[in-house]
Symmetry: C2
Subunit: 429 residues, 2 copies
């Protein structure tokens, strides 16, 4: 075993970074044995140097992250700053100055993964980011390596803990969205500005990353259809319950039936209570992967938090350090299939539609005709009414999303339809 340590620069020392630093210290002997050489924390770049950081030698702390990654003696840069800049520039600079990179930055990888991978290859470095998707759950490595000899057809999962916590609370307590969000914020599950989570931006970044790896193609963040979960109501949960379903915010990456394209999307959906994802509680994450030979696999665990994310970062750190010692690099980007990414309109799904309609004869016939005209087949209809007002709940069979949205648009223009109370896709059957 070599005794000269591998030098690690830590960019960011918040919830994740401080946990990475702590474990590097407390488990130094284990890391040394598993890597084959000691690892040494050589510098920690922070924004507020005056903050007291327990267990971190103050002489390692700097506000000049660029100088740190340019030092030239750094073997691995661990980037846990998040956001696009300065993270992107720092990672590129790190590659240029001899370091491989471990990142937990889903937004950056989703947006610029291709360019960053190209830079890594150009300089012969590694770029690993297991922590960017689903926290501690091993997902990137199983998709990229364990399933490297298989053909993945579908990835379907709960990849955002904040929204799952909120939806789980709404389901369990009957609370509305705002009340459940307030609880999540009070308990630290939601940030002060929850937009990235509740509007699905976070999940969309993860969907782009997962789709790219699963299908060996390039999926940009803009390619991902995205719908948040702020419009989900207690009434939607009541409807879901009547169908034996619950509601989850899902990230779904699919290969089209003909294999010629792929799609990636994030939206709330009803799923049957019998589906394993239905029982994923609180802030946990879980991802289903369907592959041709392997069949259905599921990966479950904590999707966020300092320690779980640090576990994923450190797993990558060990791998990247081993590669450094072997003077090799791990399996990098793979986008050889160059499959086109289809639009949401091409996705085949099912709709659960609640309509407020006039309570008079012939309405159902009129509504059913609209569905038929758009080639959408109806699975079930439930009609309730009193005092001249009625509601109609229609669940469709599978149809292209474009046909379903076309149907809804046409329904809105019917005189007898007073309003579309809610639309929700049905998945997981």
């Amino acid at each position: 075993m070599r005794t000269r340590p591998l030098k690690v620069a830590l960019l960011g020392c918040g919830v994740v970074g401080s946990e990475v630093a702590r474990i590097m210290t407390t488990h130094a002997d284990d890391l040394t044995a598993r890597i084959g050489a000691p690892v040494e924390l050589a510098g920690v770049a922070v924004r507020r140097p005056s903050k007291v950081r327990e267990g971190i030698d103050p002489s390692l702390v700097t506000t000049d992250a660029t100088a740190l990654v340019k030092r030239g003696d750094i073997d691995v840069v661990v980037e846990v700053i998040g956001g696009i800049e300065p993270a992107r520039a720092l990672i590129t600079t790190a590659f240029e100055h001899g370091a491989s990179v471990v990142s937990a930055n889903k937004a950056l990888i989703a947006q610029d993964g291709a360019a960053l991978h190209a830079a890594a290859v150009e300089h012969g470095r590694d770029l690993y980011y297991e922590a960017a998707v689903a926290g501690a759950i091993p997902l990137i490595r199983p998709l990229r390596e364990s399933l490297a000899g298989d053909k993945v057809n579908r990835v379907l999962g709960i990849v955002n803990g904040t929204t799952n916590f909120i939806l789980d609370a709404m389901d369990t307590t009957g609370a509305g969205y705002q009340e459940a969000l307030d609880e999540a914020t009070a308990l630290g599950y939601a940030e002060a500005d929850p937009t990235a989570d509740v509007e699905g931006f976070d999940a969309a970044a993860k969907a782009a990353i997962l789709a790219g790896i699963a299908f060996h193609t390039r999926v940009r963040l803009d390619d991902v259809y995205r719908e948040g979960m702020t419009e989900v109501t207690a009434a939607d949960f009541a409807s879901a319950k009547r169908m034996g379903c619950t509601i989850k915010l899902l990230a779904i990456c699919e290969r089209a039936a003909d294999g010629g394209s792929v799609t990636a999307r994030v939206h709330p959906a009803m799923i049957p209570l019998s589906h394993p994802l239905a029982s994923v509680r609180e802030a946990y994450n879980a991802v289903f992967v369907e592959a041709e030979a392997a069949g259905q696999l599921m990966f479950y665990g904590p999707g966020a938090g300092g320690s779980p994310t640090a576990s994923a970062v450190l797993g990558d750190l060990v791998a990247v350090c081993r590669n450094k010692l072997a003077e090799s690099t791990g399996p990098g980007d793979s986008a050889y299939t160059q499959l086109p990414v289809g639009s949401m309109g091409e996705v085949v799904t099912r709709y659960h539609i609640s309509l407020d309609v006039a309570d008079k004869p012939g309405v159902l016939a009129q509504v059913a005709t609209v569905f038929a005209e758009h080639g959408v087949s109806i699975d079930t209809v439930r009609q309730t009414g009193k005092d001249g007002e009625a509601s109609l709940v229609v669940v469709t069979h599978r149809a292209p999303d474009a046909a379903l949205t076309g149907t809804v648009d046409a329904l809105r223009s019917l005189d007898t339809v007073r309003g579309v109370a809610s639309i929700m896709r049905v998945e997981g059957e």
Copy 2:
């Protein structure tokens, strides 16, 4: 990309081997792109050469496996023969003649993993065996690589599909063991001689492999406590249901609370219906991993079958081929912690005990005294009786298994205890 193909020798062409060969042909372009060079099936060693094997060039088929692995031009040997010999000799010979090895052989790896890894290292080759545990479920790679920066404290799982199918059938239909076994045999889930599955030998081999990797230590097959599930009765399932539990054959690998030793065991156990493993149906496998930083992770999927096992074999094949091209090897054996393996007596668990007792005053006091004398604390007691006969169901708190077995032995010697109807451990709480 290099154009000279990597040559693969396939040892065994049964359910798994034929599927490996088929996928190598049908997905050749994908494998080439993912590896960075074409892979070519260079030879197939079989016992019965006359059998028609669809899609396999008859000129590749040989009965002389030794000559095949000695050819000198083979890059990777895929061993799907199973059993100890000739698999062991062939793998060793393969290393000596320049090949890395992908194996699905749990019995061999559990028994001789240390020696085989040493041989691989000596010759600078890889030994990969994801398919040896839990079929298609990525488990070896996540434990060895994704969690390489974490400390695993517990692995608890259903790792044998045959026994899970039988237990699930008993639970669902109320059938007895023999009836459920017959059904499993008829449906192809159990072999003609089911001993390896139902007596827990198969699960014990997997437990030895998992414990070794999880704890970075050496766990031999003999170190694994093993109890089969042939004694589980419909009455046990009825008792389990009264407790809100079901019964599963579990493989459990644990680090002792003081961290100074580890244990590995296979036995039937009651687990609460609320535990995610309780809902693992039919021949599926699922494994819980508890790690210090990551928390609780679960991996779920098909644990056996030709295609799922082939998926795992091919994932390893891609990795081993990449390593060959990079002239490196992957992370191999890691047993640096050299932790002692504790006996079953040291394991801390809970017992569910059904006693047939005399229906007279003072019996419960007598029984309770025995528990107290052995330092075993009682959680609940349920007493039913009529016509001078009574039964007593005792569920204990957690205690060392030695204290629990000591208690049961002492109970047997009580005059008022007519018999011990059943003993089952309670896990997963």
